[in-house]
Every structure is written in structure tokens, then in C-alpha cells.
Amino acid sequence: MSYVEATPLSARAHRRRILRRRFLRRPAAVASLVVVVGSILGAALAPSIAPYSPDATDFNALLAGPSREHLMGTDDLGRDTFSRVIWGARASIQAGFFATVLAMVIAVPIGLVAGYYRGWLDTVIARITDVLLAFPFLILAVGLAAIFGPSLLNATLALGIAAVPPLVRIARGEALALREEDYVRAAVANGANDAVIVGRHILPNMASTLLVQATLTIPAAIIGEAVLSFLGLGVQPPTPSWGVMLNAAQPYLNEAPSLAVYPGLAIVVVALAFNLLGDGLRDVFDPKTQR
């Protein structure tokens, strides 16, 4: 007698398979993931993809419209807009990712400590968060960027710090709710220390919420970088950035409208993709919230 041995699936692998299946059933989420991966690859491979160097000038084609040589036209110095849009993705993706990572690294431990230990420390942290939330995200970022000085690195730092307060609030709220769960009580009864409880039971259970928040913070930071650069507080010309390009396009709205169109289109496509991906992930992790 023979029997087929069923491959034992660990609970975690099983859950992962379910999540993957749920994700693949959402065309908008899958499409946005493709766009997100594509834009990251585009930014990384800019030197080999872009037809021209972002600084190469073509004085025979100043403010030219779209043509076979210059797919999206050229700017006032004859630089190829298509190439600059591709290179500009670097600043946006860099700012988006690193600002989000920075915000997470600062916010999550603070929120965890506040929500898990409660007490006076929690009160202090909650109050400070309230105060910082009194400053709108972009205003805070603009102020910090003014303090740090204009550059991509400083703009990223400013955006990352400005994104901290809402994330602290979310991490704290999650920790507050999770510490009341039965499995946390069981761990306490078993004599587990705080590090084990927070590291093994609380953090993993809020990971999906944090992942969704991170995916939604990235587009905010990408738009933030564009705004800071547009206002002259971020990336400095001649380095290509979508915000810088849009700022430079303003005097030429008459002669070369395409200058103002394509960098903005790039921002919208990338920001929309991240937003859709975040929405999709939220639905995947928490089917109850499905519309």
C-alpha cells in the first residue's frame, strides 16, 4: 500500500500563499506593482536606458517639440526631456524610499514604546505627536528643508522627519491594541520578557499595517520632493528632478508646453502606482475593508 505524502505546509507558508493569490486577483494592484518595479528599474538603469546624457545640449534643437530624435522635445538649453525625465526618476525614487525608511526607523520604535509601556512616557510622546501634527506635512518639510539647506539629501531628511508624526500615531495605536490580545497575555503568563513580546508578538502582527503605511508614505514623499525642488528647496539645477524641470518650464509655457507636461505626468504615474499598490495591499491583508 502506498500513500502520497502531503507536503506539510507551515502556517506561515500557507498564509503567504493565500496572500499571494488574493493579490494576483486584483488587476489594479498587479498593474501598479509592474509600474512601481518599472520605475525603480528605470531609475537604476537610467545611464543605459536614456538616449542622451541629461546634461547633453543640442543647440540645433532649442525648446523643440516632440520628434523622432527627442521623444518628449527639448528644453531651453536643448537638453532631451525624455532623458531628463528618466534621470529625474532617480531623485524621486531615492527621496521616496529613503524618506520613508527614515520615518519608519524613527517612528516605529517610538510608537511601540509609547503604546506598549503606556504611562507618563506615552502621555509625553502622544502630546509631542499632537503638536507636530499641528504642522501640515509639507509645511513641516518646507521648514525643515529651509533649516537643513537645499540639496536632495537634505530634502530627503526633511521629508523623512516630517513623515514621522503620523507614523508614530499609527504604530502607537497598533501597539496599544495588540498588547491587549490574548496571545500577548499568554506570553506574559509564560514569563516572556518585554523584548520577546514586542519583537516576536507585537511587531510581526503590525507588520502588514506598517507595510501599507510605508507604501502610502512613499508617494507622499515623492510628491514632496517635487514640491521642495519646485520651490528651490530640494534638488538644485542642473541635476534633473521632476520638480526642478517643472519649475524651469514655467517661463516657456507658450513656446514649449511639453516641458511642463511630461515631468508632471511622470510624477502622477509613479505616485498613482504607489497609491494603488498601497490600497491593494491593504485589501489583501485585511479583506474586511474591501469596498
Binding site: A126, R127, I128, D130, V131, L132, A134, F135, P136, F137, L138, I139, V142, G143, A146, I147, G149, P219, I223, A226, V227, F230, L231, G232, L233, L246, A249, Q250, L253, N254, P257, A260, V261, G264, I267, V268, A271, L272, N275, L276, R291
Partner: protein
């Protein structure tokens, strides 16, 4: 009710105090010597010393802070680098931004509520998909790009509206509205997108509720059911969303005013940063923080009046 308001007021005062400390400290952290900004071209050490003495720039920071707050409470925010009183500058700039924000909220609410209700009533039909898609796009389009596109289409190509500038309402109401229309649409677009999404889900919930079924069973017309019963209960959401969107509105105003050349409050913020004008900047940011806290307080109170359940359970953060 009184206790609820007092507690909210107390929390708001603490936030305003901490915000003022933060503003003061933050402005001091901006690189550059304020005395040099006041002195403009004059680098004479004696002049600089006189300026430091006049504005008390050598006093310990806590002393400077207390002096600043003491005067600020009386409505005196000091003088900027051009020697103009900061409070007066702010007061002259605020009406422009308030008009812009008011129009933006008006446009955003009308569009957002209308589209949200239509999408919910016609759920799953093409008009629902159209409204939902446009709203999703609206969330991802940055203000300044939408502004540039509108200038491109309506000012440069069609020539219908002026690309930039401001005309006071009292001088010429028509020109005023012409100048304000594009900026208000740009600023209201994001709000309408958020509101549309919230309205749609709130309406869907209301339309599935028992009281709506009862209203239908009574034989009321669809118009009455949707307009009177479902819509009214969904409107609570709108108050909250507008309160929450205020921050986005303020940051949006900074960018929108920059693009359309409106010398309002947002423009003042950017200019004060660019010119390293300490007194002006800290006055501007303080007003933003206080305004934000006050409006949120009003929203909290309004909300508790509309929905008494908040008063009982709320209050904790």
C-alpha cells in the same frame, strides 16, 4: 458639554504653547546671522552690534522667547527686516488666502459631495467608475502640476482666464473672481477627490441602513430617500474630512499662490524663508499652527454638536 469643550481647549492651549517653542527654536536653527539680514548691505561691526542690541539678539534664548511670546499675545510680532510690523503684513496677506481657501472649499465640497452621491446611487454603473477614477487621479496629481496644466490650457491656449495676479474684490468683483477661479479649482481639486471617496462610502453605508429601507417602505420618493435621509446622515463625514484636510489645504495654498503669483499668506511663507527673515517667518509659522489648532478645535466642537456620542466616548487621544 462644557467640560468637553474645556478639556479640548486645554489640550489646544498646550499644543499652541509647545508649537510656539518649536517655531522659536526651529527658526533659530536656520543657518545665517539674523543681524546680517537686518543690516542688509552694511557689514560694519558697530552697526551689527547696534542691531543685536536693539533686537536683543545676544540675550539668552529663553529670555528672547519670553519677550517674543509676551509681545505676540498682545498682537505684536515684531518688525521684519524691512522695518515693517510683522503682524500688519500678516493681516494684510491673510484675506487673499482666506478667499482662495474659501472658494477652494466651496468648489471642493460641491464637486466632492455631488460626485460622491452620484457614484453611490449609481454604484457599479459607468458614472460610478468615472467618478471613482477621476477622484483617484485627483489624489495623485500634485497641485503645482495641475496649476501649470490649467494655465497652459485656459490662459495660454484659450486665453479665457488670466494666468496670474490678483485684483481686490472691492475694486472689481468680476476680475477678482476671474483671477481666483483657476487657483481655487487647483486647490479644491484634492479636497474634492478625498471628499468624493468619503462621501461615496458613507452614502453606500447609509443607503444600506434600516432607516432607508423603512423610508422606502413608506413609499417616499427616491429623491426624498436619498436627499433627506441618506445624505443628511452622510454629511457628518464631511465636517471631519474638511477638518482633516485643512493641513493639505494650507500646504496647497503655499504652492498654488506661488504658481499663480498671488501675494497671499502662502507666498509670504516662502518669501520669508527665502529672505531669512526671522521675525516674519516665526510670526507666519506661529499663525499657521495657531490657526490649524483653532480650526481643529472648532471642528471637534461642531462635530460633538452634530453627533452627541462623541462627547461621551471621546476626549482621549
Amino acid at each position: 458639554m462644557g467640560v468637553f469643550i474645556l478639556r479640548k481647549l486645554g489640550a489646544a492651549l498646550i499644543v499652541v504653547f509647545l508649537a510656539s517653542v518649536l517655531v522659536f527654536g526651529g527658526v533659530r536653527a536656520i543657518p545665517g546671522d539674523p543681524a546680517l539680514a537686518y543690516a542688509a548691505e552694511d557689514r560694519d561691526p558697530e552697526v551689527l552690534a547696534a542691531i543685536r542690541d536693539k533686537y536683543g539678539l545676544d540675550d539668552p534664548l529663553p529670555v528672547q522667547y519670553v519677550r517674543w511670546v509676551g509681545l505676540a499675545v498682545q498682537g505684536d510680532l515684531g518688525t521684519d527686516t524691512r522695518g515693517l510690523p510683522v503682524a500688519e503684513t500678516i493681516v494684510t496677506r491673510i484675506p487673499l488666502t482666506l478667499e482662495l481657501a474659501g472658494l477652494a472649499i466651496l468648489i471642493g465640497t460641491v464637486l466632492g459631495i455631488g460626485a460622491g452621491v452620484i457614484a453611490a446611487v449609481r454604484r457599479g454603473k459607468p458614472s460610478d467608475y468615472a467618478a471613482t477614477t477621476v477622484a483617484l487621479l485627483g489624489l495623485s496629481v500634485p497641485h503645482f502640476w495641475l496649476g501649470l496644466l490649467m494655465i497652459l490650457v485656459f490662459a495660454v491656449n484659450l486665453g479665457w482666464l488670466p494666468a496670474s495676479g490678483y485684483v481686490p474684490f472691492r475694486e472689481d468683483p468680476v476680475e477678482n473672481l476671474k483671477h481666483m477661479l483657476m487657483p481655487a479649482i487647483v486647490l479644491g481639486a484634492g479636497l474634492s477627490a478625498v471628499l468624493m471617496r468619503q462621501m461615496r462610502s458613507a452614502m453606500l453605508e447609509s443607503l444600506g441602513a434600516d432607516y432607508v429601507r423603512t423610508a422606502r417602505a413608506k413609499g417616499l420618493s427616491e429623491w426624498t430617500v436619498v436627499g433627506k435621509h441618506a445624505l443628511r446622515n452622510s454629511l457628518i463625514t464631511v465636517t471631519t474630512v474638511i477638518g482633516l484636510q485643512l493641513g493639505a489645504l494650507i500646504s496647497g495654498a503655499v504652492v498654488t499662490e506661488q504658481i499663480f503669483g498671488i501675494a497671499g499668506f502662502g507666498r509670504l511663507t516662502v518669501d520669508s524663508i527665502a529672505q531669512r527673515d526671522y521675525a516674519l517667518l516665526q510670526g507666519v509659522v506661529l499663525v499657521v499652527a495657531v490657526g490649524y489648532v483653532v480650526v481643529n478645535l472648532l471642528v471637534d466642537v461642531a462635530y460633538s454638536l452634530i453627533n452627541p456620542r462623541i462627547r461621551v466616548g471621546g476626549g482621549s487621544t
